[in-house]
């Protein structure tokens, strides 16, 4: 299925769940409300139209510093495409950041689904607020979500309701805080032994 028809199929099944959607370079993205996550995920996995049996990735983004700092100067001259070159034909222009800054939630949990049989993929985004950072766990549907959700908990402090074993996976139990949050100082060290060097 193409990106546009994927979005259309999701919209038909869950008309009130979609907060937004866009396609970019053949990749479809849907932003959904948190309450519908489990239903949509189950449909994506089991509906014969989607058959998304593979959860490729599950991660999160902290938008609290987004747009506040200009890109580092070295980035502009590094050859990294900050924005697509005008020489590349682009049927789907970059849609820009998902929402204006004032209404943006602090975190977005990002899911990448892929169908091994139908060879199509969909990105699902769920916005969560800082004070209520909790979404439903998908570990009952995809066993691979177990460790990915533990990683998101460890790095961002987003909880997953119904997760069987939600504890840190990369950092040690004594670690305080969540290091990929933008308000965690990048070099704040919490050594188990030795000085705070």
């Amino acid at each position: 299925m193409t990106a546009a028809s994927l979005i259309q199929a999701v919209t038909e099944r869950f008309p009130e769940a979609l907060k937004g959607s866009h396609t970019y370079r053949g990749d479809a993205t849907v932003l959904v409300f948190r309450e519908f996550l489990l239903d949509i995920a189950r449909t994506l996995k089991e509906d014969p139209v989607f058959q998304m049996n593979y959860l490729m990735d599950l991660t999160a983004v902290d938008f609290s510093a987004f747009g506040r700092k200009p890109s580092p100067a070295f980035f502009a001259s590094s050859g990294v495409a900050v924005r697509p070159s005008s020489e590349i034909p682009d049927e789907d222009p970059w849609p820009g950041p998902p929402t204006p800054h004032s209404t943006r939630s602090r975190f977005v949990v990002v899911y990448h689904f892929f169908s091994l049989r139908l060879k199509h993929r969909l990105r699902l985004e769920v916005a969560v607020e800082e004070g209520d950072a909790e979404v439903d766990s998908l570990s009952a549907l995809w066993a691979g979500a177990d460790w990915l959700e533990r990683e998101v908990w460890d790095m961002f402090g987003i909880r997953f309701r119904g997760h069987p074993n939600l504890k840190r996976i990369l950092m040690y139990e004594e670690f305080v805080g969540h290091p990929l949050r933008k308000d965690y100082a990048v070099n704040k060290r919490q050594p188990l032994i030795g000085p705070v060097n």
Binding site: Y184, P191, L192, G194, P195, N197
Partner: protein, 187 residues
Amino acid sequence: MTEAGFLTSRLDEAIGWARKYSIFQYPFVTACCGMEYMATACSHYDVDRFGAGLPRFSPRQADVLFVVGTISHKMAPVLKRIYDQMAEPKWVVSFGVCTCTGGFYDNYATVMGIDTIMPVDIYIPGCPPRPEYVLDGLLKLQAKIQAQHASGQRPAPELRPPEVEGHVSTERRLRPERGDGVERRKQ
């Protein structure tokens, strides 16, 4: 020199000679420096020429700890325990710039040099160090072992080599806001 003193110094020399040509290393390999370690150990550069060809994967049987690669704060207690389990006499080689100073990592996860948790005998910086550089470090370690007394008494501990200290102070000078005021422990 008395006769006893002469005999002791000759004995020291003989034991030092035996020790430096029968290094049993414990490779504690955690990161990409391991590739250069393997290159050094294999036949092209052939660390066996210097009597250090047999790695032992038990700290009880090893006498030189090669710390090869970035050490994270989660790993640090494990490394310290390995070091504590080794029998005297023992030496530590810090292989690669990450183990020497933390390297380009300045973040929540990385130990800023293993000499903050254990004494280090030889620093081999480099990202990663070339095999020739490693062999040079090994020869320096052999010289150090030769100079050591058989009783286990060590020569006076060295400070960090000046080039490593210079690297750290340059970094601090460039980014004074990152200095946390904690003095690096001198051995």
